[in-house]
């Protein structure tokens, strides 16, 4: 993924709102001509004659704060006060809004400049309308707080009063608009509380699962615990005889990746009644052919593959074999990590109403257009007939990038002939996930007398087919320390996979950070070097790889070094700690952000680990849009990483996921959440996203702190604290 610069191929569109006022939007030049009235419904900004400014939040909100931060960009350049602004969620509509995906930490990266241009365009039209009315040059007018002023004549007018006149003017050339200099920002860079906070605190309906429609029924969908199974038999009559159950029917699999799985739907007057009826189905499943995946079997296969020659060679620079032979010291270690579930607190759910060949969907989704395609395909309806309301998501973490619950709800609602709210139980959610894949890394490094790493080899064991890796189970050839070690070899072997995998917060990197930065720590200790000094030496002089700072495969060692040094300074790196306490450090680059974490941990004699504090430094470019949301994201990402490192694993038994609920898949608790001190280092680079890059440096910083405290190197996640007994 490269080249995310602001699109120069967009034009501003604008027009009059029926009943008065101005709307303004942004269209790709090849979008074709839409009737103005349709565009008005979907524009980015609406200014009503009464002065109310409505900004449309285009992206799915999963807790990353885009419903606040992206509208802030528009409001800044429009020069309105935040209190004058109302935020409205967009419908899913790729033609009007372009990419509407919550994924890859891309919203800030992609929207920072275009959304400011939308705001600046509306402002320019309002100024032009005022200037024309007053017969003064537009250049003599200024704006602030939703007003245009002309200092020379002392005249002023509110945006509301100018909106209808502005709507008759042609929109300005988007590329020629002059944006504010950062020192003139009134909103960007100020902490702004989330726009939905009050509604959340008062329990108003807001989330996907809160949807209620007239005549709506509630559904559960019982699916095979082993992916790919089909229904052999189910006692539909017994279930339909139960009080409150309206319907029960078998849903056949539709076939195709991510599409409809087979199962049994139960429709009832309320969700509990539907779910209570489920055991009475006594569903018998026809399991898919072939061996059933188990965690024990995978571990054995990984060991077998590690001992054999790698199946694929991904990178081979220099001569690692010769360099290892010539090394003063060599270190070998194997690392592994488990499958993980996303487990957002709001279980998967979707509400659907099908009328003829029209489908209306209310969904908490991170990727509505992908859902539309899937629903269109499986139900055989034109994509344009599907309306998708993007509702607030009770957490995403990548889980809602796939939309199988959307297809299920649509199919079930059509079959039932009534609007249906489908809600997965927590057990459904835990056992029907798209897992973060597990993996194994077999590493060896050679060191020179001065502590330089002269060789680095990694035989990566993952999942996939003969040609490729399973989803989110690959490795990028530029993963650090590629390019920083002269003799570098990355090879891989794969085993087949029978469960679906998917993208979890900082995909792939969430595991690689642990592997690479733990092994680097081992190398530092192997040569008796300070772990910070060893990393500084490895990064070397500041230099940059890749096309530009928006290149996912790039790397700027200067930025990595800056956050590393900053986190170390914040934590007081090098200070003496009592027995069985230690500091650990790590850094990582992913999703265009550079982060370093220092963990202070204490290990009790029974092995229990207490994290006392974390210090985190991050560089995501020259501007933090909303410091409040940004801090929340970083603290959340870091604590998420801590929680997963200390206790989460999904295991497979006989082809099915063994974990069922939060009892055997523990989330971090308040009492175990240490303070997280965060500093943003500003650098002269485009602003980029924060949902993901804070995560990967934390697991290794924790493992490294545990090593500093105990001398025990834990090479597997979740960290086995039983091994830390004194």
């Amino acid at each position: 993924m490269t080249g995310f610069g602001p699109s120069r191929r967009s034009v501003l569109t604008a027009g009059a709102i029926a009943g008065g006022g101005l709307w303004i939007g942004l269209s790709p030049v090849n979008a074709g001509t839409e009737p103005a009235s349709a565009a008005a419904l979907n524009a980015f900004i609406r200014i009503a004659p009464d002065g109310i400014v409505t900004i449309i939040a285009q992206n799915p909100e999963i807790g990353q704060g885009v419903r606040t931060s992206i509208p802030m960009l528009i409001a800044e350049e429009l020069d309105v006060d935040w209190g004058q602004v109302r935020i409205e969620p967009a419908l899913a509509d790729a033609k009007t809004y372009g990419r509407q995906v919550a994924g890859g930490s891309m919203a800030t990266t992609l929207q920072y400049e275009p959304m400011r241009r939308v705001g600046a365009g509306a402002r320019a039209m309002l100024v032009a309308a005022a200037a024309a009315g007053w017969g003064v040059p537009a250049a003599e007018c200024s704006t602030a707080h939703g007003m245009v002023r002309h200092a020379g004549s002392g005249r002023s007018a509110s945006y509301g009063s100018l909106a209808s006149a502005a709507a008759t003017l042609p929109p300005p050339d988007v590329a020629k608009l002059v944006l504010k200099a950062p020192h003139d920002f009134r909103l960007i860079g100020k902490p702004v509380p989330g726009v939905d906070n009050r509604r959340i605190a008062e329990g108003e309906p807001l989330f996907g699962i809160d949807t209620r429609l007239p005549g709506m029924k509630y559904a559960v969908f019982d699916k095979c615990p082993v992916p790919g199974g089909s229904v052999a038999s189910a006692d539909l009559a017994a279930v339909k005889a139960r009080r409150g159950v309206a319907q029960a029917f078998v849903v056949p699999a539709s076939g195709g990746e991510g599409a409809l799985a087979a199962g049994v739907a139960i429709i009832a007057d309320n969700w509990w009644t539907a779910n209570q009826a489920r055991p009475h189905l006594a569903t018998k499943w026809t399991l898919p052919a072939g061996p059933r995946q188990t965690t024990a079997g995978d571990n054995a296969e990984a060991a077998r593959l590690a001992a054999a020659a790698p199946q694929r060679l991904l990178v081979d620079s220099g001569d690692s074999k010769a360099a290892l032979a010539a090394a003063v010291k060599t270190v070998k270690a194997s690392y592994s990590y488990p499958f993980l579930a996303h487990a957002p607190l709001e279980p998967m759910n979707c509400t659907a109403r099908v009328t003829g060949d029209k489908v209306e969907i209310w969904a908490p989704t991170q990727s509505p257009e992908a859902g539309r395609k899937l629903v269109a395909k499986v139900l055989g309806v034109p994509p344009a007939n599907i309306t998708i309301h993007m509702l607030r998501c009770g957490g995403g973490f990548g889980r809602r990038l796939t939309n199988e619950y959307m297809v299920e709800a649509a199919w079930i609602a059509r079959a039932a002939g009534v609007p249906v709210k489908l809600v997965w139980s927590r057990e459904d959610d835990m056992t029907q996930g798209n897992l973060r894949p597990g993996g194994w890394h077999n590493l060896e490094a050679g060191l020179a007398a001065d502590g330089s790493i002269t060789a680095w080899t990694n035989h990566f064991i993952s999942y996939g087919g003969p040609q490729d890796f399973a989803r989110a189970a690959g490795i990028d050839e530029t993963q650090f320390p590629a390019r920083f070690v002269p003799n570098f070899r990355l090879s891989a072997s794969v085993m087949p996979l029978a469960v679906p995998t998917g993208y979890l917060r900082a995909p792939e990197n969430n595991a690689f950070g642990f592997v690479m930065q733990s092994f680097i720590d081992e190398l530092a200790h192997a040569v008796g070097a300070d772990p910070l000094a060893f990393r500084q030496h490895l990064l070397g002089a500041p230099r940059r790889f890749g096309k530009d700072s928006l290149d996912f495969t790039g790397y700027d060692s200067g930025r990595a070094r800056t956050v590393l040094d900053k986190a170390a300074a914040m934590a007081g790196w090098g200070r003496k700690l009592p027995d069985r306490q230690g500091l650990g450090i790590a850094f990582h680059f992913s999703h265009l952000g550079y982060f370093a974490t220092v963990v202070e941990a204490a290990v009790a004699t029974d092995g229990a680990v207490t994290v006392k504090k974390l210090w985190v430094a991050g560089d995501v470019g020259r501007q933090i849009v909303n410091p409040s949301g940004a801090l929340n994201q970083v603290q959340g990402g870091v604590l998420d990483a801590l929680g997963s490192s200390l206790g989460q694993a999904i295991t497979l038994e006989d082809g099915a996921i063994a974990q069922r609920n939060f009892g055997d898949y523990p989330l971090l608790r308040l009492a175990d959440a240490p303070p997280v001190e965060v500093a943003f280092v500003l650098s002269d680079n485009p602003p980029t996203g924060l949902g993901e890059p804070a995560y990967p440096a934390t697991p290794p910083a924790l493992a490294n702190a545990i090593f500093a405290a105990t001398g025990v190197r834990l090479r597997s996640l979740p960290l086995d604290t039983a091994a830390l007994k004194a």
Binding site: G63, G244, W271, N661, F662, G663, L670
Partner: protein
């Protein structure tokens, strides 16, 4: 048989299976969807409501077990001065990320402050440990409780 309940100071009558958990009576029968479903097993606290001021997990409370106890849900939290203080603290400190757990967090916090108006960290830990936040907004939850309680962080 109709069951009579008192929810947020209003009398309500529902005709449901007596085993039906209060959570689903609130959400599906009465449309009070502020109380959230997270686990259905008493493991996450998203469904926390008050019975006579005591925090309970609505997913584990059969409607027949409520008896004459007054039910307070998140929709009724602002009826008390302390509830409003907590809500204001949650908004101004920008506690939510996704926000899904926060109704349960607020109800747990309100019960804590009723019993312990000036809680220390240990008391906050004990009262809030059953309320999971998948987004891990714990730092701000702790700060917001302290802000509402008027204790220094």
């Amino acid at each position: 048989m109709p069951t009579r309940l008192r929810i947020n100071n209003k009398p309500v009558t529902v005709t449901v299976d007596p085993d039906m958990p209060l959570l689903w009576v609130l959400r599906d029968e009465l449309g009070l969807v502020g109380t959230k479903f997270g686990c259905g097993a008493g493991l996450c606290g998203a469904c926390t409501v008050h019975l006579d001021g005591q925090p309970v997990r609505a997913c584990q409370t059969p409607v027949s077990a409520v008896g004459t106890a007054a039910i307070t849900t998140i929709e009724g939290l602002s009826a008390s001065a302390m509830g409003r203080k907590l809500q204001d603290a949650w908004v101004s400190l920008d506690v939510p990320q996704c926000g899904y757990c926060q109704a349960g967090q607020l109800m747990a916090a309100a019960a804590l402050l009723k019993a312990t108006p000036k809680p220390g960290d240990g008391e906050i830990d004990a009262a809030m440990t059953g309320n999971l936040c998948r987004c891990a907004t714990y730092t701000r939850i702790r700060q917001a409780i302290k802000l509402a309680a008027g204790v220094t962080a």
